[in-house]
């Protein structure tokens, strides 16, 4: 067992060694280093071939046509391209956008930018379990709604939204539907040939590929058009200019090829780890799972350990790499906006830890982590005046706190 133990796979994953090999084959003079846009020689042709093969792997994992995939620098750029691309192209159709309060910042900040440009945005409140339902979306639809952007799997909670229901509603009303699926690939099946989704964002580095590469699915049937956000050279049929980074693209392609092949076995293994983890951690008094446990992926588990502050818990778990919704771990000193949107009290948001498991997580990792958690929570509660008050039967909501 190597320490520290990495349980932050939802933040990023290590590159699979098979992917790393593929990447290194596309860098040096004796490798496939050419510019895929070079039409005049073999170096270019070979690079283009590698890029197109990678595109097929990506398309194959998500059930679409390779011609529907546009390479981007990551899911953030894909989100920006989708949201601003639709808004800019179809602005005469309407100036209203629907999204949710628990989207990734890439979606939220792209929407904020459009607000500055005269669009109106509705930010939906999720259910208590962290889900955005078609019903919630339906209530927000207006005559001038042009785009709905809702994530597939929430990065902090792991909750899975029903894309079919939301997409069907969007189709029925003639509204474009964008989905941020950065957390989905290799975790759940996606079949875009059946899903009523117009645009979908992907990231390589959440699925054992390299950072700095992602893709946007843009539907051809029905045909969806977008306005490019980066100009020059006309790569990717003019939708995203810039020399294609062959090594990163083949890395993403290989990562997604492996994901297709190994999704079932990865999933089975991670489900077992999740079960083991949950069974043990749920024995601890006063813990709360954030997000509907029945409607979430098993690679993400977000737990609030009441009466223990998240940053101190992370410090006490120094051999475990996890992230927290605690204000103290963020530069802004604000607790997680996702947990707050669920209506969780600030102190529960501050007590939250996100554990995320992956392909290289072992049974021993989980066992060791569990023993550390039990120890750390016990120690920190012994140190916590709030825990003492809880044991004394004092309702913390009735205390007159001296805020500072």
């Amino acid at each position: 067992m190597n320490l520290p133990i990495y349980l932050d796979y939802a933040s990023t994953t290590p590159v699979d060694p098979r992917v790393a090999k593929k990447i290194s084959d596309h860098l040096t003079l004796d490798g496939n280093f050419g510019n895929p846009a070079s039409r005049s020689h073999k170096f270019g042709w070979k690079a283009e071939e590698a890029v197109e093969e990678a595109r097929s792997h990506v398309a194959n994992l998500v059930g679409c046509d390779p011609r529907e995939i546009v390479w981007t620098s990551g899911a953030t750029e894909a989100d920006n391209l989708a949201i601003k691309g639709i808004a800019n192209f179809y602005h005469s159709k309407g100036k209203h956008i629907i999204t949710s309060k628990i989207e990734h910042k890439a979606v939220l900040d792209a929407c904020r930018q459009l607000e500055r440009e005269g669009f109106e945005v509705t930010y939906l409140e999720p259910s208590e379990g962290g889900l955005i339902t078609a019903g919630l979306v339906d209530e927000a639809i207006r005559e001038d709604t042009v785009l709905i952007s809702i994530m597939h799997i929430n990065n902090e909670l792991g909750t899975i939204n029903d894309l079919h229901a939301i997409g069907s509603l969007a189709r029925e009303k003639g509204i474009f539907f964008h989905v941020d699926a950065a957390q989905s690939t290799g975790k759940v099946e996606i079949n875009l040939s059946e899903l009523p989704v117009d645009l979908m964002s992907f990231s390589a580095h959440k699925t054992y590929g390299p950072k700095g590469i992602g893709a946007l699915f843009i539907s051809r049937k029905p045909r969806v058009r977008i306005e490019a956000q980066i100009h020059g050279g006309g790569h990717e049929r003019g939708m995203r200019s810039g020399t294609l980074p062959t090594h990163q693209i083949v890395g993403m392609g290989e990562a997604f090829r492996i994901a297709k092949e190994e999704m079932a076995s990865d999933k089975k293994k991670i489900e077992a780890l999740h079960q083991k983890f949950y069974d043990s951690v749920s024995q601890i008094e006063e813990i709360y799972v954030n997000g509907d446990i029945e409607k979430k992926v098993s690679n993400i588990l977000n737990i609030s350990f009441a009466y223990v502050e998240g940053e101190s818990l992370i410090m006490a778990l120094k051999d475990i790499a996890v992230s927290s919704g605690s204000a103290c771990t963020s530069a802004s000193l604000e607790p997680s906006y996702v947990l707050r949107a669920l209506g969780r009290k600030d102190e529960l948001a501050s007590s939250s830890i996100r554990f995320s498991f992956g392909r290289f997580t072992t049974d021993e990792d989980i066992e060791y982590t569990l023993s550390l958690i039990n120890h750390a929570v016990e120690r920190l509660r012994e140190l916590s005046p709030l825990w003492e008050m809880y044991l004394d039967g004092i309702d913390l909501d009735t205390v007159d706190w001296q805020t500072h």
């Binding site: 101190s312 410090m315 102190e347 501050s350 913390l396 805020t403």
Partner: protein
């Protein structure tokens, strides 16, 4: 958060050896105990500090201290540091302890200065509580 080694050591020592580092509680009703509790759960930190004093001539000496803190690593380290500063001091000397003393002792990063302010507030309140009882 990149903490100084001092914060990390203080935090780890405190959670690993709570008794040695004065984690605990006194009965707040006892006449020789002064209790201060500052902060709020919603803000992410609550410090409870209790001093046990003894009269020596016309002055009062802090003979023992107990504390409990809910908060980030630096909040816990700050209160633990404060407790060490208080032991054996007269109340007048204790009143002279300022948050900057804790900042310097632990090399707190600027974003965590409020933890030391909270610690200073907790001792002020504990002394006030004790003096009211006398």
């Amino acid at each position: 958060m990149a903490y100084s080694k001092k914060v990390v050591d203080k935090f780890e020592n405190t959670i690993n050896e709570p008794a040695k580092y004065n984690v605990g509680r006194f009965d707040p009703k006892d006449m020789d105990i002064g209790t201060g509790m500052v902060g709020a759960p919603a803000c992410g930190d609550v410090m409870k500090l209790q001093i046990k004093c003894e009269q020596m001539g016309n002055t009062h000496i802090i003979k023992d201290v107990k504390f409990k803190t809910y908060g980030c690593g630096s909040a816990i380290a700050s209160s633990s540091e404060l407790v060490e500063m208080l032991l054996g001091k007269t109340l007048e000397e204790a009143k002279g302890i300022k948050n900057i003393d804790i900042v310097e002792a632990l090399e707190l990063p600027p974003i965590k200065i409020h933890c030391s302010v909270l610690a200073e507030d907790s001792i002020k309140q504990a002394i006030e509580d004790y003096e009211q009882k006398q």
